[in-house]
Amino acid sequence: MKSLALVLSSLLLITGCGEQTPARQSTPMDLTGLSGVAVTSQNTEQQIELDGTVEAVNRAVVSAQTSGRVTALPFDVGDQVNAGDVIAQITSEEQQAAVNSAMAQVNEARARFAEADAQLTRIADVFKKGVVSKAEFDQVKAAQQSAEARVTSAEAALSDAKQRLQYTQVIAPYSGILVRRLVDVGATVAPGTPLLEGVSLADVRIRVNVPQNSIQAVRKYRKAQIMLADGSMLESTDLRISPSADASSHSFLTLVEIPQNASNVSLLPGSLTKVAFVTGTEQQLVIPKNAVAQRGEVSAVYVINQQQLVFRYIRLGKTMGDKVVVQSGLAENDQIASDVIQAAAIYKQSSVAAQ
């Protein structure tokens, strides 16, 4: 009786199996030795890549502030210059003479002041005694004050002359590199004549024209990745974005500052650099690249589901290192076979066995 029931039930089972599509086996597969890997979710940023130009924050052309002939240019193009170094020498004879003359003027004024002061001291005693009139006293007092003012004036003239003398020695305003020599020794310069151009490498930023269709997102995230020549990325969150677009190119001038701590980065002013601005973030599913079975135009994975392998079609997105983004076909925490070749063998063997 029991055996009959067994036979009957197995018959039912057989007919039941027969009606199913052969692609799916309900029997568990032998998955020993097959290692699985979970589908993970990862926060990835969407970016837009733009070309930018590196510019130095400090870049200046030094001009003559006084006239004269250039007598010495101690530095040449490419030389490292420290702040305070004399970078050009201009003839100082005239300026020196002016200093000397001013000095003489000061001395003269001082002498006159001493004389007027003494006169005042004298007349004051007399006036107290009521010997001289008030008018006479006032006259002497004014003369003393005038002499005092003349001293101040002469001293100012001396200071001015000294400054002019100092202009004959052109001093580097900041440390940097001399990039251009605009005059040669012997040239006569007047105030305003450009002499030398220098640039500071320590302080650079990147100038990017951001097209109008991306500016909203760039403003929102204020984050950029600078791609360096060696392939590494430098993140910057210090963006200066122009409030209005350039009317002709319809792009927004955006300055990307280099972070302070990244002083060792070699970004040379004037060079083109790619900058990727973050325009959004999204959760994406990623799986190891090796777990994808690429068969012709089909990309698929073997999903391990309750002791069974399911060959599932997936759509792939970007590749990120040894991982690849899955756009559709998988859910987070799905287990997939990490070795597709081994998985295919198990799948086919068990489907053959099932038949």
């Binding site: 079609y313 759509r315 086919k348 489907s351």
Partner: protein, 1078 residues
């Protein structure tokens, strides 16, 4: 009897092989050859008809239909018409394109024909100047092997998988399938290919002072890469590659296409760049009724079709393909994609072959059983073995001849089984007779016995061959289709003759060596019992008609009543009790809906209509699945090949392939289901203004449509007007359905006319305007994205966004760079002219023609009746003001169509040709029979008597058709022709016997009655054997008519022959006998 005359050829053959050791080995070899043939012969459902034709496409962009017609089409038609072996040249001239269809005669060697065609076009290449704008002709030969044998449809219930994904899978499966031996073209139908769309914005382009040309240039030049040679460094050579390809959408969108005001302009600044699916040019969907699924539910699908190489066995290829698909599951085919086998000609062929081989075996067995009862156990064994050997060798001969195992070649064997067995029966019976006479050893008696019947047997065999063989020369598509019948049956007859003379005597000797006595007694007893019984019967029947002059009145009465019966039988045709038709419908498990929306309908509208049509069909209980192909052609079948359905691609066209459950699982025939389908879809078709044709697989050679009226004349526009009137006459005729014509619905056509003077002044050339507008509307593949895995290139397509394509304003904003570098708006140099699209012009054999087509449904179900009804109605119809009727032609194109003429074509033409050729074959057969009989009987008049019963077959055939409700078809005609041979054989035996008896000195009347009595047994035996073969074909939808002809024709004519031949012979001879003594 004791006079030893020299043995005839048959006797000598029998004597030679009676004792040699080689005889059984020959038979064994024959059997083995037969087995070999069964395994090796390719199987098909229908015989392959080697029909070669080619499509020639010649493009002449921009030209009007009339210009293309006169400059391209007509000269090309002339070139093609010069070729040997061309049967018809059809052409359709569209604006800007000429499509020629060159149809070669059936049986023309394919390669020769194609070489001739290429040669014709290449040697005339200098006819037109190269810079005229007429493109090179594109020649695409088509043949039977372009018909896919297997189609598999990929579909998924997972809504996340799109048609593009399905196409990816299909592409990846293709290579796997191609590895199956014997496969030919493998194609994917449907799905959406991927494309990188660069949807440019004309306004933005112009704001950056850029033209489309800049974009085009940037795209093309950015994708250049090459191997630049090798560098040598440190004693190593280093390969140098210059440039890299565009590999991602980001690469494309970040392309700098120009610099404006110092800022780079990226492609994404002026265009939307995205990887997307192509704008659908077709929709393919799948619906099924498996396991309670809702058949109205439709899934996006892609259909893979696999054709086979010529000469390969469809069964093996199909099985291999299906096995490979199973293997690819889980490796290439993901689990949530289903693959339904939607066509398997291998399986249908195998099934057909299996059933027919089974039928052949049963027919053989039944004949052996018949012999068993009629002659005896051992005789049955001898006859049975002889027939098996005959069939085996015939199957081998059929393979060697190049036939496949198909419905026709196997039917030829089944139907001839009755005749094949006959030689063996006659020989066995006569040896038997000689055995009972005694006096000789078996070894001595056999050659004599064989020799005695040898002459008449050879003659009888040759009369049957004479009747059948002329059919092998039937021309047209029907010739090769039917050819296995005359060839296989004739070969079988010859082989059966040889077997009867070589193997049968040997086997008889082996079996009866020790059973002589027993047989003698048995036979003697039998002949004792039999003789008088039939004698009395025939005396009673025949005597009234004999009796010299006294019986004359009765004889005349007999003649008259027979003539009356023939008249009544023929009247059955006139009264439509017997319907004449070329071939009846087969019971196939598929049919098609061919949908034509009015020209100018959008693809989406067509798809919507077709979805509704498919939903209408889903109520059919026999439905298995259907595939819907909007905008493209379904996988073609032989019918579609001849009707050129594969050229059907356009937004307003579509096909629905309907697959029914296997015929064992349904009670209705496919034709009845198709008739119901036509009712079901009528409302929807009307609602959407769709012309929907229900197309069944024709059983035999396909034609353009069952009813075709070709209208000729001197003015194409007025021909079209007349066609419209004729179309209404078609539609008004009862039982004429699926009416259509080749006149296109009016469609709008806009022409952007370039003001040449203005353009020249501004320095813009027309060519760049044409190129830019073409890129904007049609799209231009400026570059390709490179990928590691793709099978098909991924184009980067420059085009306007679909939403702004309808807006001409956006288009006219497009700027073109002038020679000066300035940008000129398109609107400045062009103006828009709105007009109607020109009609396509059809030609047939160089004459402009307009087609009106239709199909027949309803009671008559034969287009011939509809044709004559329409023809009568047309004579009365006013087709042009004040002008009734039209000149109608039935057999050939009008030689000089200076007035409106109509030529009937379609099934009529093929029916006419086939019946004409078969009629000729029949006549030739009769003449040959006459010659054979004259040679044998050495008389000019006796053969006429012998052939007298041929008309008697009609008395059986036509009422037989009426009785069973069968249509009188080409196979019926074949049966009738074969009958002539078989019936004549009976008369020969009768007349021969009478002559022998008279020569032996018997009274004529006595001899006549005796002849009927004695010969009735073998005659009846032959007739019953042949009828038994027929019974097994009776249920076949196509060859049922042949069976009806055979069974009823044989039944009636055999009975009548036994009466009429003796009577006629007597009537002819009694005078002479009476006169002689005087």
């Amino acid at each position: 009897m004791s006079v030893e005359k020299p043995l005839g050829i048959s006797g000598r053959i029998a004597k030679t092989f009676l004792t040699t050791e080689i005889t059984p080995l020959l038979a064994l070899v024959g059997l083995l050859l037969g087995l070999f043939a069964i395994f090796v012969t390719p199987r098909e459902e229908e015989p392959q008809i080697n029909v070669t034709f080619a499509n020639v496409f010649i493009a002449y962009p921009g030209a009007t239909a009339q210009e293309v017609e006169s400059l391209v089409t007509t000269p090309s038609e002339q070139i093609v018409s010069e070729l040997v072996g061309v049967k018809h040249v059809y052409s359709i001239t569209y604006p800007g394109l000429s499509v020629l269809t060159v149809r070669f005669k059936v049986g023309e060697a394919r390669n020769d024909a194609i070489v001739r065609l290429y040669n014709a076009f290449y040697s005339n290449q200098d006819r037109l100047p190269y810079n005229l704008g007429v493109m090179q002709p594109l020649i695409k030969p088509k043949g039977i092997d372009d018909v896919p044998v297997v189609s598999a449809t990929l579909w998924s219930e997972n809504p996340g998988l799109t048609a593009a994904d399905l196409l990816n899978v299909a592409h990846s499966v293709e290579a796997g399938l191609q590895r199956v031996a014997g496969t030919r073209e493998i194609k994917s139908i449907g799905g959406l290919s991927s494309v990188v769309k660069v949807n440019f914005d004309p306004a933005r382009l112009s704001s950056y002072q850029l033209s489309l040309d800049d974009v085009r240039h940037a795209l093309a030049s950015a994708n250049a890469s090459a191997n630049a040679g090798e560098l040598v460094k440190n004693n190593q050579s280093v390969q140098l590659q210059v440039g890299t390809f565009l590999t991602s959408v980001d690469d494309v969108s970040s392309l700098v296409i120009g610099v404006y005001q110092g800022a780079p302009v990226y492609l994404r600044d002026v265009a939307g760049v995205q990887l997307t699916t192509n704008t659908p040019a077709q929709y393919v969907a799948f619906g099924h009724a498996d396991k309670g699924a809702n058949p109205a539910q439709q899934y996006p699908a892609v259909t893979l079709t696999v054709a086979k190489k010529p000469g390969e066995n469809a069964v093996d290829v199909a099985a291999g393909v299906i096995e490979r698909i199973e293997q690819l599951k889980g490796v290439v085919i993901p689990d949530d994609i289903n693959i339904s086998i939607t066509r398997n000609y291998g399986q249908t062929a195998e099934e057909k072959a299996q059933t027919l081989i089974k039928k052949l075996i049963f027919a053989t067995l039944s004949v052996i059983v018949l012999v068993l009862f009629a002659l005896g156990r051992r005789e049955a064994f001898v006859v049975g073995l002889a027939v098996v050997v005959t069939l085996a060798i015939t199957l081998f001969a059929s393979w060697a001849w190049g036939f496949t195992l198909n419905r026709v070649s196997l039917f030829a064997l089944i139907f001839s089984i009755g005749i094949l067995v006959d030689d063996a029966i006659v020989v066995v019976e006569n040896i038997h007779r000689h055995m009972t006479m005694g006096g000789r050893t078996l070894k001595q008696a056999i050659p004599l016995a064989v020799d005695e019947v040898g002459g008449p047997t050879i003659l009888a065999t040759f009369t049957v061959i004479a009747a059948l063989l002329p059919m092998a020369f039937v021309s047209g598509l029907m010739g090769p289709y039917m050819r296995p019948i005359p060839i296989n049956a004739s070969t079988g007859m010859l082989i059966s003759l040889a077997v009867a003379f070589i193997f049968t005597p040997w086997l008889f000797l082996r079996l009866f060596k020790n059973a002589k006595l027993h047989a003698e007694e048995h036979q003697a007893a039998e002949s004792q019992a039999k003789g008088p019984r039939y004698q009395a019967l025939f005396t009673k029947i025949l005597s009234p008609f004999l009796n010299a002059r006294a019986g004359r009145g009765k004889r005349v009465g007999l003649l008259l009543s027979i003539l009356l019966l023939i008249g009544v039988s023929v009247a059955l045709v006139v009264s439509k009790d017997v319907i004449m038709k070329m071939l009846p419908f087969d019971n196939k498990s598929e049919f098609e809906l061919v949908v034509d929306m009015p020209e100018g309908t959008s693809l989406e509208q067509t798809y919507a209509a077709m979805q509704q049509l498919a939903a209408d069909l889903s109520v059919l209980p026999e439905l298995k699945n259907y595939q819907l192909y909007a905008g493209t052609a379904a996988p073609i079948n032989f019918n579609g090949l001849v009707r050129q359905y594969y050229l059907r691609s356009g937004a307003n066209m579509g096909e629905i392939q309907v697959n029914l459950v296997h015929k064992s699982e349904r009670s209705r025939k496919s034709h009845d289901i198709a008739l119901e389908a036509r009712q079901l879809i009528a409302a929807t078709a009307k609602k959407y203004h769709a012309n929907v044709k229900v197309v069944e697989m024709p059983p035999g050679p396909p034609v353009m449509a069952p009813l075709v009226a070709e209208i000729y004349g001197l003015d194409y526009a007025r021909q079209q007007a007349i066609a419209a009137k004729i179309k209404t006459v078609f539609a008004q005729t009862t039982d004429v359905v699926d009416v259509d014509d080749s006149v296109e619905a009016a469609q709008a056509k806009w022409t952007l006319v370039v003001d040449r003077a203005k353009a020249a002044k501004l320095g813009v050339d027309q060519a760049s305007i044409v190129a830019d507008v073409q890129a904007a509307i049609a799209g231009e593949d400026s570059s390709y994205l490179h990928s590691q895995t793709r099978k098909n290139p991924l184009p980067v397509r420059l085009t306007l966004p679909a939403s702004s394509k309808s807006d001409l304003q956006a288009l006219q904003n497009l700027k073109i760079r002038a020679a000066s570098g300035e940008l000129i708006a398109l609107s400045e140099v062009t103006s828009l002219v709105k007009a109607e699209r020109e009609q396509a012009i059809y030609h047939k054999d160089l004459l402009p023609v307009v087609y009106v087509t239709g199909d027949a449904a309803g009671e008559a179900d034969s287009p011939l009746y509809g044709l004559f009804e329409i023809a009568a109605a047309l004579d009365k119809a006013e087709l042009e003001a004040g002008n009734n009727g039209i000149e109608q032609f039935y057999t050939a194109q009008p030689a000089n169509p200076y007035q409106w003429s109509l030529k009937w074509d379609g099934e009529w033409q093929i029916t006419y040709e086939t019946f004409r050729d078969m009629g000729i074959a029949y006549s030739v057969g009769l003449i040959m029979i006459y010659l054979l009989v004259v040679a044998q009987f050495r008389s000019y008049s006796v053969p006429l008597i012998i052939m007298a019963p041929i008309p008697l077959t009609i008395i059986g055939i036509l009422p037989g058709h009426a009785l069973l409700g069968q249509q009188f078809t080409a196979p019926s005609m074949i049966g009738m022709i074969a009958l002539a041979g078989i019936i004549v054989r009976n008369s020969i035996l009768l007349v021969d016997f009478i002559q022998q008896q008279v020569a032996a000195g018997k009274d004529l009347q006595q001899a006549t009655i005796e002849a009927a009595a004695v010969r009735s047994t073998p005659i009846a035996l032959t007739a019953i054997a042949a009828m038994m073969g027929g019974f097994f074909i009776l249920d076949d939808p196509i060859f049922g008519g042949l069976a009806v002809s055979l069974i009823f024709g044989l039944l009636v004519s055999t009975i009548l022959t036994l009466v009429v031949i003796p009577v006629v012979y007597y009537a002819y001879n009694y005078q002479q006998q009476v006169n002689k003594p005087n």
